[in-house]
Subunit: 447 residues, 2 copies
């Protein structure tokens, strides 16, 4: 039969041995292609059909690879990538008070923020991450750097009860938050969120102000919550309430809330989070490394809570490896739930992609390979002997694959990594800059 | 001043930006060289001194790398690498009874064992592992394959209370064990150990026979022990004793014992293991993935127990990545001990090298970079942006480094990996063979 319909133009056709769309759940499409036009996914279809139907401007063929949605790192402090491994294996209080805070006190400025984020973007792209939920000071600088590199991010607008290099008073925190929000309100890549630091560093009036403004501006609230048992205990001593109960009183337990860590949860709190549409960002490696506790990731997921995954900052991880983090989440969930079927490979990959996207309020935009969504994609080479034999694609992605197997990355259809090479970042310059920071940091930090 | 002494010949001089000798503990030597002659470490000294003192046959210069002892994977079932990811996210009983055992029942034969081990050796070398404690059937085949590839191994002589493709009766298990032991008793690379499967699959008379023979032949006893709470409970029901108490009654709690998993331990049991010189192999990722429980790695280490690290078999991990495993061990220990200072980076690296060597009875031979020991070494490139800035070498090795940063590996001074390329394994052939196994296994295994 003759083809009667003229081929439809598209900008890019990615042909992959396997496409893991995440939506629908549990599906692996063999020998499928993704057609991309104007930065969006136009279609997901078998390769032979795609070749008949489309006249692509470019074809990328990866017969040995799985094409997955770009990973969403749902909780980061990326400027701290410059502090990777600066002070490990220390009790939390010593780590913060004698190392991290003094170093940050000396360094916190736009150059530290910008250089740290560039290093982080390079690392994230090389590991298949296409979107970050950023939580640090100088969100104006963060937003500009992410934008310049075409990297998708939601940047936190920090609120904390004491002065920092970013702002000196409550009013200044809120004024600057408003300014940064205004500047980026209609950007296709960059968005903002309120980022009150934690229940123990933000007072009731500031939380109330955040609730009001978040509603008015339609913004998420990105918050460290129930990270440690001490946090919960201190809240009970100071407020007579656990932090979640206090936030409930303040009207913040709702579907705007991006609750990070959540290692201390009662059944009732899990139910409340599920009912209110709270998203939980699980940062297993940070929780382990700082001995914060165990997040009940499987219980949250089974209760219907939207579960996302984050690396936390590099100073408590010490990488931005979302493959490693997802694997740790999948492994740890089983031991914590005492159930080897907990948080299976598909559920873990979903948390690392669509779960993160939804937590960030980007669920209609990215997180799955679905027509109409932005083409934020990662290609993962499964031909390496470390993922052979290839009995199950998603098992290998979650339990065996290393981030170095990521070959190609696109954000909004733009190539950011091509055959392991960063497209628009000079890796030598990034490493050279990191070495300069090492020298500078060594001059102010002693073990 | 003129050099009056003629340079001393050596076979190989490895010059590294950093040498982490493991012994003495906690040391990083900057710009040091390791001189190697006849497969042994002749000296560890500053590069400039080495250049004056030695006339090497070959110089390998790695100014951006850390040279570490080759990693020792202290518990593996490497033929199962062919079953990587075959059946994940299942309760232990379903996993074993409905998937692993039927597949093994159909496949267990010399070709499966040999091909699985070749795939494993390639993966281990690419990840800096130079020695394995093997535990599977057909130890004769295992030993021959490890020997052929110049890979250091202690192969387990299996004993289990039911017939398998390897042996049909108690006597046959012991007869074959004796034969394999005899064949390899004086080999410089390959040694054997008794490998009774587990307390629940080996009866008292067989354990008694093992104790007697292990003493006579001076062999370690490699045993899964206290892996799960159910194992302990079943032992109490059947024998009126916890497995460790039962083994104590049978005379097996001693410095020959390589006790694997050990997730269920009382304080008294930890003290007993320390007093008797038992080595414990911690397999954190397997314990998590099968929801077996949490090994108290820090408590064991602080009690003075020799701690080693193993990946377990690929079917319950799903890789042979000792960098990843060591990192998981270091992270998990902190949360389990509720102490962020638990199992620090140096202690973790020590467990992955010298701890493993000592567990295997190879402590005088490998596991640290000390003159007189065999030159089992791995070079790890730290110039990658994922390990920048390089604030602390051992922190980056344990918490940030990926196994893909291993550039070079030597076993007994022989190069096995050079600039990421396997020296004597055809990686294309290994992958092609794994693909054939995938097809064969798919024909007998259905999800």
């Amino acid at each position: 039969m003759t083809e009667l319909i003229a081929p439809e133009p598209c900008d890019l056709l990615i042909e992959a041995g396997f496409v893991v769309p995440v939506e629908p759940h549990g599906v692996v499409l063999e020998n499928h292609a993704v057609a991309i036009s104007e930065g969006r996914i136009a279609a997901v279809l078998p390769i032979d059909e795609a070749r008949r139907h489309y006249a692509p401007g470019q074809v990328v063929s990866r017969p040995e690879a799985a094409l997955i949605p770009g990973l969403v790192n749902a909780h980061t402090h990326n400027p701290m990538t410059l502090l990777r491994g600066i002070a490990d294996d220390l009790p939390l209080k010593v780590w913060l008070q004698q190392h991290i805070w003094p170093v940050e006190g000396a360094l916190l400025a736009p150059d530290f923020v910008a250089d740290g984020i560039v290093l982080a973007i390079a690392e994230m792209l090389r590991g298949g991450t296409t979107c970050a939920n950023e939580n640090y000071f100088f969100p104006d600088v963060q937003a500009a750097v992410y934008k310049r590199h075409g990297f998708r991010a939601r940047v936190g607008l920090p609120v904390i009860d004491f002065p920092t290099a970013w702002a000196k008073s409550d009013d200044e925190y809120f004024d600057k938050a408003g300014e940064v929000h205004d500047q980026w309100r209609d950007d296709p890549l960059i968005a903002t969120a309120f980022a009150p630091h934690a229940p123990y560093t933000v007072n009731d009036p500031n939380f109330e102000r955040i609730r009001m403004l978040a509603d008015q501006l339609d913004l998420p609230v990105h918050l460290h919550l129930h990270e440690t048992a001490q946090e919960v205990q201190q809240s009970q001593e100071k407020y007579g309430q656990r932090p979640i109960a206090r936030l409930e009183r303040l009207g913040l337990i709702n579907d705007r809330l991006i609750a990070v860590h959540m290692t201390q949860l009662t059944e009732a709190e899990i139910t409340l989070c599920a009912e209110r549409g709270v998203s939980v960002v699980h940062c297993p490696e940070s929780n382990l490394k700082l001995a914060s506790g165990f997040c009940r990731a499987c219980a949250l997921q089974r209760a219907g809570v939207n579960l996302a995954i984050g690396t936390d900052g590099c100073a408590s991880n010490n990488d931005l490896d979302m493959f490693g983090e997802t694997r740790t989440a999948a492994l740890l969930a089983k031991a914590v739930a005492q159930d080897a079927a907990a948080l299976d490979a598909f559920a873990s990959l979903r948390a690392a992609t669509l779960g993160g996207a939804r937590a960030l309020g980007f669920g209609d935009r990215v997180g799955s390979i679905v027509p109409g969504k932005q083409a934020d994609l990662a290609c993962v080479d499964l031909s390496a002997l470390e993922t052979q034999p290839l009995h199950h694609v998603v098992s290998q992605l979650v339990y065996a694959c290393g981030r170095q197997q990521v070959s190609d990355v696109w954000i909004a259809g733009q190539p950011k990594l091509v055959e392991r090479e960063l497209v628009d970042i000079d890796i030598g310059a990034v490493v050279a800059n990191a070495r300069q920071w090492r020298t500078r940091i060594a001059s102010i930090h002693r073990d």
